[in-house]
């Protein structure tokens, strides 16, 4: 009886080890990668606030747009719809930033709700991990004539995580490359 118990226990242990080995990432590291991914999304949210702010100098906006673009994998798109325009419009990331900067308001404030959701990281066929992080943005635009526009949008942001290697000062550094991908932007009724 005791033997059977131990056999079952070791079998369970083996399967547990097996599943970790398959993923090659221990839970602590996985959590650290989750946090890293969330941090990249928060970086993006800060860049967006800077780009949208009418007080940001043109040269600063350009620099920040470059940095924000670096967060993305090439070819990433934003699919945008709103409550009164269900049709999804697709923009390249840079195009989206430029449109945001050119919005016809005298004052723009972009804030972020202190709420986010980080999905599980799933492996895709090529081995890269993919996840989705959801954040919510509050937009307020006002014109000098007193017209204001407000909305809350949900942003579902693809993240790709891949282990990579690079050479720094002659030694090989293994790092986790976290890149943002396509973003779905929907207006919420909340």
């Amino acid at each position: 009886m005791k033997n059977l118990k131990y056999t079952i226990l070791s079998l369970l242990l083996l399967t547990a080890i097996g599943s970790y080995a398959q993923n090659n990432v221990d839970p602590g590291r996985k959590q650290a990668i989750d946090s890293l991914a969330l941090e990249k999304v928060k970086d993006l949210s800060k860049y967006i606030s800077i780009i949208g702010n009418k007080e940001t100098q043109f040269s600063e906006s350009q620099r920040v747009m470059d940095r924000a673009e670096e967060l993305f994998s090439p070819g990433s798109e934003m699919g945008v719809s709103s409550l009164n325009r269900e049709e999804i419009s697709y923009y390249k990331v840079r195009e989206y930033f430029e449109r945001l900067m050119a919005l016809n308001y005298d004052k723009v404030t972009i804030k972020w709700y202190d709420i986010h959701y980080v999905s599980d990281l799933e492996q895709q066929p090529d081995g890269t991990y993919v996840g989705v992080i959801t954040i919510y943005q509050r937009f307020e635009g006002s014109s000098n004539d007193g017209m204001t526009y407000k909305d809350t949008t949900k942003k579902d942001i693809t993240i790709y995580v891949k282990k990579k290697e690079t050479q720094i000062a002659g030694r090989i550094i293994e790092f986790w490359d976290v890149l943002l991908g396509d973003i779905r932007v929907t207006e919420t009724s909340a």
Partner: protein
């Protein structure tokens, strides 16, 4: 001393609320609603399974409260659409009782369960904008998983196939073989329902037609209009999942219908119905 303490606390509070997020009270209210919302299908899975704490933090397998029964009992009622779907409360009660049963609780498994997506899409087909459904499913592939198109339903394809099975239907007579099948000439002439000349058990394969038209360049993808999910993963039950974008605390991905299934036959019937195969 106590006054100083509470003042310090107030200052910290003031700094953290204004300094970090700068949310207005109106936004705080919205934030609470967004917290309650099932923001992703992934979150629906976690709340269904009891893999998330009260503050929305993830429980890992090593956590004590991972998949805790009382946690699930608290979360699961919030996973139903309570505003529009009119789910039978008796069904809901039985369903919850079954999945939270102490001896054999039921959980959702992202990779292994029998669940699939129904995606309402729009395409341009021969110059016209048409609507159709893609049925999509997860598949193991390479080092991970991918979503694949399992089937499609387009009116434009379906209406081309209307097989006449009556005794008065057109046919090629049983001695056609003696004439080198010259009966084919008359059979095909001016006929746009050539499926009459197929076997009794013939069913058209719309996925192949769809792929053919796409690969030929006759059909072009435009956009996704809506997404919902069908779950056959809990023994004896079917439920669907839809997204509810509305104000309040009952929003996001919620169970929009719940049907008890008696046996494999009912399951097949319902699946055929969903796949538009009647």
């Amino acid at each position: 001393m106590r006054i100083i303490q509470s003042l310090t606390f107030l200052i910290i509070l003031f700094h953290s609320s204004v300094g970090q997020s700068g949310l207005t009270y109106e936004m705080k209210e919205t934030e609470n609603q967004l917290y309650a919302s099932n923001k992703q299908i992934n979150q629906f899975f976690r709340r269904f399974n009891g893999e998330e704490d009260d503050d929305g933090n993830r429980y890992y397998t090593s956590d004590k409260k991972y998949r805790d029964a009382s946690l699930r009992k608290k979360y699961i009622p919030g996973l139903f659409d309570r505003e529009t779907s009119q789910i039978d409360p008796n069904y809901a009660r039985d369903f919850v009782r079954q999945i939270t049963d102490k001896r054999s609780p039921a959980f959702l498994n992202f990779h292994e369960d029998d669940w699939f997506a129904e995606v309402t899409t729009e395409f341009t087909f021969k110059g016209r904008r048409i609507s159709g459904l893609l049925y999509m499913r997860l598949q193991q592939q390479g080092q991970g998983y991918e979503w694949i198109i399992e089937d499609v339903a387009f009116d434009q394809f379906q209406k081309l196939f209307d097989k006449d099975t009556s005794s008065t239907k057109k046919f090629m007579h049983p001695l056609s073989h003696e004439l080198d099948f010259m009966t084919l000439r008359k059979a095909f002439h001016g006929n746009n329902h050539n499926e009459q000349f197929t076997a009794k058990n013939y069913t058209p394969d719309f996925l192949t037609i769809f792929l053919y038209e796409m690969n030929q360049g006759n059909m072009k993808f435009e956009t996704v209009k809506n997404v919902k999910f069908h779950f056959f993963s809990i023994d004896g039950w079917y439920f669907s999942l839809a997204n509810f974008n509305r104000p309040g605390y009952n929003t996001g991905w919620l169970i929009s219908s719940l049907v008890p299934l008696n046996g494999a036959d009912q399951k097949k019937q319902l699946k055929d119905y969903i796949y538009n195969k009647n």
